[in-house]
């Protein structure tokens, strides 16, 4: 089975579990390392970012931190670390429901026959900084609220203002209310209008470019920070690379490192979402591989790139 087929299968199953699982008793908790949006009624698990901004993270006041609430926060952080250590960026490429939503838009665009938008490496480098800015915001925002610097209505600052999944994913649970502009006060008006503007702009861009939002995703940055403990990795054997650039061409994230790396075997960069497209498409046998604890899970090969079943008479 190609990685692409496997990925589609896992993505759809994850979507059902994470969006609707709560209705059937699935409770994966608030440590899920992908956009399993807690705003969806009946969700099966919750994106760690929400808890991190709130009751299991930086939303805890300093006084409460050294006790049960701090211990609980630490517990869920460890759960998050373990889940990331096991699956790494597969959470992004294979599991994330919002990633699947973006992939649906890409499939629709291709079906309609529109060209996609490729982002130049220099632009990617600049845009990529935004994810760190958002990460800083989701850490500092709750702290500033606790200190009284920011109004309480900036609660969950990343989710409320910048996450396009917040209005979009609940639609799959039958809820449109997150598309409402909240005019209760000036702050809620600013927060919700920012959210809707970001969602509108991002939705258009996600149609034009695969996984557009992933460029800005703070969770991608967090998972990448845990790279030293992550068992899953994308590795390259530079000596086997033909330099054809196919990996760059098929990459959702316009990553160049996999193509251009000539010395190191580690090509798992921050923007890579481990979708496996490069491994599927690379016709240089053994040049790219997805590994788990050093053991190859999938390797590039000429047969795989052509969609041939195991070679008739393969070595």
């Amino acid at each position: 089975m190609s990685l692409k087929s496997l990925r589609l299968l896992v993505q759809h199953a994850s979507f059902v579990v994470l969006i609707y699982g709560g209705r059937f008793g699935v409770r994966l908790g608030p440590g899920v390392p992908c956009f399993a949006c807690p705003y969806v009624n009946g969700c099966g698990g919750q994106c760690y970012l929400m808890g991190l901004q709130g009751y299991i993270g930086f939303g805890i006041s300093a006084a409460d931190f050294w006790g049960f609430e701090g211990a609980r926060a630490l517990f869920w952080f460890l759960v998050f670390v373990v889940l990331v250590a096991l699956l790494g960026k597969l959470w992004c490429g294979f599991v994330c429901p919002f990633g699947l939503f973006q992939d649906w838009l890409t499939m629709l665009r291709r079906r309609l026959g529109f060209s996609g938008l490729k982002i130049a490496p220099e632009t990617m480098a600049k845009l990529g900084i935004v994810k760190y800015v958002l990460l800083a915001w989701l850490v500092l925002g709750p702290i500033m609220i606790n200190l009284g610097i920011l109004h309480r209505d900036f609660y969950l600052p990343f989710c409320q203002m910048f996450c396009p999944a917040k209005p979009i994913l609940p639609v799959f649970g039958g809820e449109l209310r997150h598309f409402a502009l909240d005019v209760t006060n000036l702050v809620t008006t600013i927060v919700t209008s920012t959210s809707l503007a970001v969602t509108g702009g991002t939705l258009a861009a996600m149609f034009a470019r695969p996984r557009f939002f992933c460029v800005f995703c703070p969770l991608l940055a967090m998972i990448h920070f845990l790279k030293p403990v992550t068992l899953l990795a994308l590795k390259k054997e530079p000596a086997l690379c033909h330099g054809c650039g196919t990996c760059r061409r098929v990459c959702f994230m316009d990553v160049e490192k996999v193509w251009l790396e000539k010395a190191e075997s580690d090509v798992q960069c921050v923007d890579c979402v481990n979708c496996g497209e490069c491994v599927d498409s690379c016709s240089a046998s053994g040049a790219l591989r997805l590994t788990f604890a050093g053991k190859p899970l999938a390797k590039s090969s000429r047969a795989r790139s052509l969609g041939l079943k195991k070679h008739r008479g393969a070595a």
């Binding site: 409460d64 209310r177 598309f179 005019v183 209760t184 509108g200 702009g201 258009a204 861009a205 149609f207």
Partner: protein
């Protein structure tokens, strides 16, 4: 003949006075919380626990600041599986107590999710008054034992059955709160009060009884979603006392949401971005020489 007309007028007036007295005494209509003191629960900042237990602290006070005597309380505690679901495996506990002289503060700790319905009573100005409230505790601690189910029969105090419309979260402006007197205790019609006077809002008649819809509060809207203001529902009882019900009203969660406006904002950025992208694509087209079919 001249002497019988005044006699008839006297007896008519007397009968009317008696009738009115009986009626007002039977329905408590005469109780005016704006001028007369009543007893109520007020929430205080609870102690913070480091062991995961949740607490609520309530003060039984008089509305006019006068001292209370013979104060006691009981509460019904019902464990919850989640904040919406009752845990049927555990039973409801009745816990009672009384206040001594001085501070009438009751603190309830819980290590589990608990729904608490609290009743208090005290004597104010020689009359017995009652106060009610309810609350949710989200405890997660093994250090606090859950309340023992049982505890004896519930005292037969005049009280309200309370229900609120809207989603079960916390009381909000714009929601309808219905208080229907329990039993046939002659509890009068309630008046909604705040610490400073009558509460702004609308009284409505529902199938379940008389209700009140707190008005939108601009000050509350400007504060955070967790900010709240107390509303006390006060009704007179025969004997001249009163029964009150305390809730803390938050601003409306959904009242400020304008879906149409939201779609306008969303659509305009969607269309605007699409337009920019199309322009960008057109400018970037590299294959000007390709002999393509148009």
């Amino acid at each position: 003949m001249r002497s019988s007309a005044p006699r008839v007028r006297f007896f008519s007036a007397l009968a009317t006075a008696v009738l009115l007295t009986v009626m007002s005494g039977g329905t408590g209509l005469a109780f005016d919380p704006e001028t007369e003191g009543y007893v109520r629960w007020e929430f205080k900042p609870p102690p913070r626990h480091k062991n995961g237990a949740a607490s609520v602290s309530l003060n039984l006070v008089s509305s006019d600041g006068k001292p209370l005597s013979e104060a006691s309380w009981y509460y019904k505690a019902t464990p919850l599986a989640s904040f919406r679901m009752v845990d049927d495996s555990a039973g409801t506990a009745i816990v009672r107590g009384s206040f001594g002289d001085g501070d009438n503060t009751l603190t309830i700790d819980s290590g589990v999710y608990l729904f608490v319905e609290l009743m208090g009573t005290a004597v104010l100005d020689g009359k017995r008054h009652y106060a009610q409230t309810h609350g949710l505790l989200f405890g997660e601690s093994l250090a606090v034992e859950p309340p023992e189910p049982g505890g004896g029969p519930e005292p037969d105090w005049p009280s309200f059955a309370f229900s609120g419309s809207g989603e079960i979260y916390w009381p909000q402006t714009g929601h309808t709160f219905v208080l229907s007197p329990k039993g046939d205790r002659g509890i009068g019609e309630f008046t909604a009060m705040t610490p400073t006077g009558k509460a702004l809002g609308e009284y409505v008649d529902t199938d379940g009884g008389r209700g009140f819809v707190p008005a939108t509060d601009k000050e509350l809207n400007a504060m955070g979603a967790t900010a709240s203001k107390p509303v006390f529902f006060v009704a007179g009882i025969p004997d001249g006392g009163s029964v009150s019900y305390t809730i803390y009203v938050h601003r409306s969660r959904y009242g400020g949401e304008k879906l149409n406006l939201g779609f306008v904002v969303f659509s305009s950025t969607f269309v605007g971005t699409s337009f920019v992208l199309i322009l960008f694509f057109r400018r970037r087209r590299v294959l000007r020489h390709v002999a393509q079919e148009s």
